[in-house]
């Protein structure tokens, strides 16, 4: 995160003629940085910002792209993942966008990246101090499905009145015997704000807790930015008699043999054949390069 200073305000970029470095004009970046600073100062609180119409559609990562554009500097190394993988079309498309407009170095290796933009996953490789992870957020308001009115949810946040969500989880338990939320599982940040972690599987929720990296969240369509600063508590909601649990698989990754990662199920034929492979493609490839193999490799 080596953001540019006022000195190079409005300086043209050489990467793409006619387009500023990282696409957004410097005044817009300033506005976004102010929102980010406020978000960092109030962990988990949603800060409204003047989201711009990006050349990619709303709902496809425009919030994350604007946050990344605002913090990206020339010396940064960018990694973009979607569903844990660097190779899915949307990840490729967003990476190309920043290659074209900012000309920054890109990588698929988690430890080498200074900025990681993600949709729906947190990398398996633990993040370190100095790294920034930018989440693409479709619905920033954790209670939107329970109360669609922003005027109402704003008041609930102001009063830290989160009974609505606790009742929803309780009703899950009453009906199913367990909490029936598997992704975008609500968390309490710094003991104060209820926050949507974005649609990551709840498997990834514990990684947010006391993470040494800065976690930024951008919701372009809903025009909100929020943040979890490094080493901040992030607790998944639970009850004393129904503690929070993450997903587990009976089988290891078919390619690298890992037993502690989030696995994607892949259908291999029309006769019910299935494989389970790591959703984090970089982590899986690194393990294979280090000599680990699975049953399907």
């Amino acid at each position: 995160m080596n953001a540019r200073t006022d000195d190079d305000l409005l300086q043209p970029s050489e990467a793409t003629a006619g387009v500023n470095f990282a696409y957004l004009d410097e005044r817009t970046k300033r506005m976004i940085r102010r929102a980010i600073l406020k978000a960092v100062a109030i962990p988990g609180h949603q800060v409204p910002f003047g989201s711009r119409e990006m050349p990619l559609p709303y709902g496809w990562g425009t919030g994350g792209i604007q946050v990344t554009a605002a913090i990206l500097g020339r010396d940064d190394t960018l990694k973009v993942i979607d569903q844990g993988s660097d190779d899915t079309v949307n990840a490729v498309n967003i990476r190309r966008f920043f290659q074209r407009t900012a000309g920054v170095a890109t990588t698929t290796r988690t430890p080498e990246a200074s900025v990681i933009q993600t949709r729906h996953r947190i990398p398996e490789t633990p993040l370190r101090e100095g790294q920034v992870i930018v989440y693409q957020v479709p619905v920033p308001e954790p209670m939107q499905r329970l109360e669609p009115r922003e005027t109402e949810t704003r008041t609930l946040h102001a009063l830290a009145e989160y009974g609505l969500m606790h009742v929803k989880l309780y009703e899950d338990i009453a009906r199913h015997g367990h909490i029936a939320t598997t992704y975008d599982y609500p968390v309490m940040v710094n003991g104060r704000y209820l926050m949507a972690p974005s649609p990551i599987p709840k498997f990834d929720n514990p990684k947010m807790h006391m993470n040494p990296a800065l976690q930024l969240f951008g919701a372009g369509r809903e025009k909100r930015i929020y943040a979890v600063p490094p080493y901040t508590t992030v607790e998944s909601l639970a009850f004393d008699d129904h503690p929070f649990e993450v997903q587990r698989w009976d089988t290891p990754c078919a390619l690298c043999g890992a037993t502690d990662t989030f696995l994607d199920e892949v259908i291999t034929d029309d006769k019910g054949g299935r494989l389970h492979v790591c959703s984090d493609s970089d982590h899986c490839q690194e393990r294979q390069a280090a000599g680990h193999t699975g049953a399907g490799a």
Partner: protein, 366 residues
């Protein structure tokens, strides 16, 4: 053996090429020019300018060409273009009373100062396919007969104003600058200037359906078209360093003043209230729908019961933008493997639990 999916970049580049070919169609036929679109698909161009929030027929025509005629996509292209343009200044409010109308109708009075002027409209065409247009070469239509209006005509609502029958809405104290929704996020409660800005950019189809719902009992609406006018108005700026106003050109607009019955409240005597619609170019359906929705959204202000979606600002304003709606609906095409995997595991678990429980006899009456 399973190999992780690769090659996203090649696939994207190939899809660009396929899209180019699809757009061009049969190369034995002449390519459609941007000038042709601008001149011959005027109503499409006008809609794209209105919802794209840029008055530039050439760029709107380019966007339509690039989008293969998909107007929502063309609006997206224009919006993305305008997003990072610098703001050079603010114009003075346009004075639609000084418009030289090409079309001006009122449904409230048979005749009125300035007269009724039908102008170009599909309203009274008999919708029969005109097979003459199939033949190339075109038809030379003789110019329209009759008088041309060469002077401004008074607004109908101003005529009603003399009697005090229609509400007056003076600018608020100090006439504060409106929120710029392209720079500030929409917040609730939203004032009328903000609501109108949102509606002006809103999707025509959405506003049409919302407006229609107010006519079918989902709101208390008794509307009349006070006036609908189409014509050129002058755009004037007053740069601070000059200190006097300068005309920078004319734009074509459609304006609709919808007049609504109002039974009065504790503080206001019975009168007619107004709903307002404004669009770039010739966009009557949009301007009319906008004015109906604007009026419905004033329910709270006028002490009317808010019982229907069209009266609910959060419902209407949060869902009116075609970019937001189209983007989020279509994002479902993006991969969701991870979330689906999480749901798959949950549904399997729940099914296993359900099957393990003693089953209810299927013949048991419900």
């Amino acid at each position: 053996m399973y190999v992780a999916v690769k090659g996203g970049e090649t696939a994207i580049l190939n899809s660009y090429r396929l899209l180019d070919r699809q757009r061009r169609g049969d190369t034995a036929l002449a390519e459609l020019s941007v000038d042709q679109i601008r001149e011959q698909l005027k109503l499409a161009v006008d809609r794209v300018m209105t919802e794209g929030s840029v008055y530039d027929p050439e760029l709107a025509a380019l966007a339509i060409k690039q989008a293969s005629g998909d107007l929502v996509e063309a609006i997206f292209l224009l919006r993305a273009y305008r997003a990072t343009l610098p703001r050079l200044g603010t114009t003075l409010p346009i004075d639609t009373g000084r418009m030289q109308p090409e079309r001006r109708i009122s449904a409230t009075f048979k005749d009125l100062p300035g007269g009724q002027l039908l102008g170009p409209t599909y309203d009274y065409t008999q919708r029969l396919l005109d097979f003459a247009l199939l033949a190339e070469g075109g038809v030379n239509t003789p110019p329209a007969e009759g008088r041309a209006v060469s002077e401004p005509v008074p607004r109908v609502v101003d005529l009603l104003n003399h009697e005090g029958l229609i509400e007056r809405r003076e600018p608020p104290q100090g006439d504060p600058a409106p929120t710029d929704l392209t720079r500030e996020p929409l917040r609730f409660p939203a004032n009328r200037a903000t609501r109108l800005q949102n509606l002006a950019r809103g999707d025509e189809g959405f506003l049409l359906a919302m407006a229609y719902s107010t006519q079918r009992g989902y709101a208390h609406s008794h509307p009349f078209v006070g006036e609908l006018r189409l014509g050129q108005v002058e755009v004037v700026v007053e740069p601070e360093e000059l200190g006097f106003a300068v005309s920078i050109g004319d734009i074509e607009i459609t304006e609709c003043e919808m007049v609504n019955q109002f039974a009065g409240s504790k503080t206001e005597p019975p009168a007619f209230t107004r709903g307002y619609g404004l669009a770039f170019g010739h966009c009557e359906r949009k301007a009319m729908a906008m004015s109906l929705v604007d009026r419905a959204l004033r329910a709270d202000e006028l002490d009317e019961a808010v019982v229907s979606p069209a009266q609910d600002p959060e419902f209407v304003l949060s869902h009116s933008d075609s970019l937001e709606a189209s983007g989020f609906v279509q994002h479902l095409k993006l991969p969701h493997y991870v979330d689906f995997q999480a749901e798959l595991a949950l549904v399997r678990q729940m099914r296993a639990e359900a099957l393990a429980q003693p089953r209810l006899d299927e013949d048991t009456p419900a």
